[in-house]
């Protein structure tokens, strides 16, 4: 008698009632794992400097987060891996050349981490409430504050000990300043240019160069169902169409979408930055618009703007619109009664 009573006891709890092994920290660490190939390829091409810069970002992000949580007397949330992921993403978005002591630029990653973790994430109430992508705000802050240091790009050397490598321009920088002919000339021919871009053997931020490694990571996340196809596909598709239609010098429909898709931070942005749960809309239709907006703004800045690269700013601008987009596509509440205004329409 006693036993049956226990069996039929009602458990009252708030939703969600479906339980799974997925936790925040598990998702965060899986995303870190998905970033690993791109990070390793960055270390392969830019040497130990890349490793040091990323480690510095990760370390300072985690330290700032635990310090802040200690100061405001909150439960430590360092174990959930979100601070680690922010640091990793920030590091992968910085140029490896920042690891230099004359001129001294090692403080830049530390300050960028502070801006990312404390101002962009914790001031807004911590994980889940931040409006902007912390890593991107950190990078944008660094780019505006130290424009010179943030645009010194190392030539990829593929030797681990390359401590004082030559500097060069990124493919997008060459494309902006000198045009496509010069870009092809630098890399030999078109096929070789594509090969370099695909493998990641080109100047750029630590983690953005290797298209193939980023694709592996992105598809892994897609396979694990941690992200959906909506944002990346809308992002890359819109960018490709605009690059094809308006990207060419000889008129419409002569642009080369592949160069634009494989250069700059396009892959890193589309797969890992724009798909951030917190700062992107959660409704599917809103996600499509969000992705398309990112792609369009990226190409607008690349083709017409003052900066050679627009992925970071495009995602940040669309981050501002994410709460609005979610509002606009709010699903209808089942059984809700129409208000007088709606009936009138």
């Amino acid at each position: 008698m006693e036993a049956t009573k226990k069996e039929h006891e009602l458990i009252v709890s708030v939703s969600p009632h479906v339980k799974s092994d997925e936790t925040t920290s598990r998702i965060m660490w899986t995303v870190c794992l998905a970033l690993l190939p791109a990070f390793l390829s960055g270390v392969y091409f830019f040497g130990l400097k890349a490793l040091f810069i990323t480690a510095l970002c990760v370390l300072s992000s985690v330290i700032f987060e635990s310090l802040y949580l200690k100061v405001v007397d909150k439960k430590s949330a360092v174990g959930d891996g979100s601070g680690f992921l922010t640091g990793l993403l920030l590091g992968m978005n910085l140029p490896a050349s920042l690891w230099s002591f004359s001129p001294f630029t090692v403080h830049i990653p530390i300050i960028a981490s502070f801006v990312a973790i404390v101002i962009t994430k914790q001031l807004f109430g911590g994980l889940g409430y931040n409006v902007f992508n912390p890593a991107l705000i950190g990078r944008a802050f660094a780019l505006i504050s130290w424009p010179r240091a943030m645009t010194i790009w190392m030539t990829p050397t593929a030797s681990i000990l390359a401590m004082d490598a030559k500097t060069t321009a990124t493919p997008l920088g060459i494309l902006k300043e000198e045009g496509i002919a010069k870009l092809i000339e630098v890399f030999g021919d078109k096929v070789s240019l594509y090969e370099h871009l695909l493998a990641g053997n080109r100047a750029g931020s630590i983690g953005e160069t290797s298209v193939i490694a980023l694709l592996i990571g992105g598809l892994f996340l897609l396979y694990k169902k941690y992200i959906t196809w909506h944002i990346p596909v809308a992002f890359l598709g819109t960018a490709a169409v605009i690059a094809w239609v308006f990207g060419g010098k000889e008129g419409v429909l002569t642009g080369d979408p592949l160069i634009h898709l494989m250069s700059g931070g396009m892959m890193l942005g589309a797969w890992f930055m724009a798909t951030d749960y917190v700062t992107s809309p959660s409704m599917r239709k809103a996600q499509l618009i969000f992705g398309a907006g990112c792609g369009a703004l990226t190409m607008l800045i690349r083709l017409k703007g003052g900066f050679p690269e627009g992925v970071m700013f495009a995602i940040l601008i669309m981050n501002c619109f994410a709460p609005l987009l979610d509002r606009g596509f709010r699903s209808k509440v089942f059984g809700a009664v129409k208000t007088a205004k709606e009936i009138k329409k």
Partner: protein
């Protein structure tokens, strides 16, 4: 004619997005912070703001080019524009009290403050400075109004989202609004160098 349309389009896009008054010149912050707490007031203020802006741009263009310039008293432009704007705000104030009393009380003091809003004054002054034609002045006023409306609505959506967030006590409310505005401005720097007028 095609060239004119491009110019008008550029004016609207430039004033509303690229050189957004709130995010790149930090004008009009008083109303911006005051009414962006709730989406309803933000939308109401946007509509009022755009209509006042358009009408004041048109009226001040007429007065500037047909009265001040022929009489060579353009040094009086600031006083004259303020008078025009104050009159228009009084009109919209009266209309709103009749048409939508609820919104009128929600907007409260900020409705009267439109008359001293820097964007509304800046637009006729810039129109006079740049010697825009009548249509261009209207386009510039529309762009600026749309830009302000955009800023208000984005801000309201973000602040409503943060309503439930665990923001540290000293930063609750206005301080956080300033932080958000700074970060949006950081994002909008991406537009720099896009269209130079």
């Amino acid at each position: 004619m095609g060239h004119d349309f491009t110019k008008l389009f550029e004016l609207i896009v430039s004033a509303s997005l690229i050189n957004n008054f709130v995010f790149t010149r930090f004008l009009g912050l008083c109303i911006f912070f005051g009414v962006s707490k709730k989406m309803e007031t933000a939308v109401g203020m946007s509509i009022t703001f755009i209509s006042v802006m358009m009408i004041s741009a048109a009226v001040s263009w007429v007065i500037f080019n047909l009265v001040l310039v022929p009489l060579e008293i353009t040094f009086l432009q600031i006083i004259v524009f303020i008078g025009v704007i104050a009159g228009l705000v009084q009109v919209s104030d009266t209309i709103m009290r009749k048409v939508s009393p609820g919104l009128y009380y929600k907007l409260g003091i900020y409705l009267a403050l439109i008359s001293t809003n820097c964007i509304i004054l800046a637009v006729p002054l810039i129109n006079a400075e740049e010697k825009y034609t009548f249509i261009q002045s209207l386009a510039f006023g529309l762009g600026s109004g749309l830009g302000f409306a955009l800023a208000l609505i984005i801000m309201a959506s973000i602040r409503e989202k943060l309503e439930l967030a665990d923001v540290p006590a000293p930063f609750k409310g206005l301080p956080m609004a300033f932080v958000i505005t700074g970060l949006i401005a950081l994002a909008f720097t991406g537009f720099s160098g896009l269209i130079t007028l």
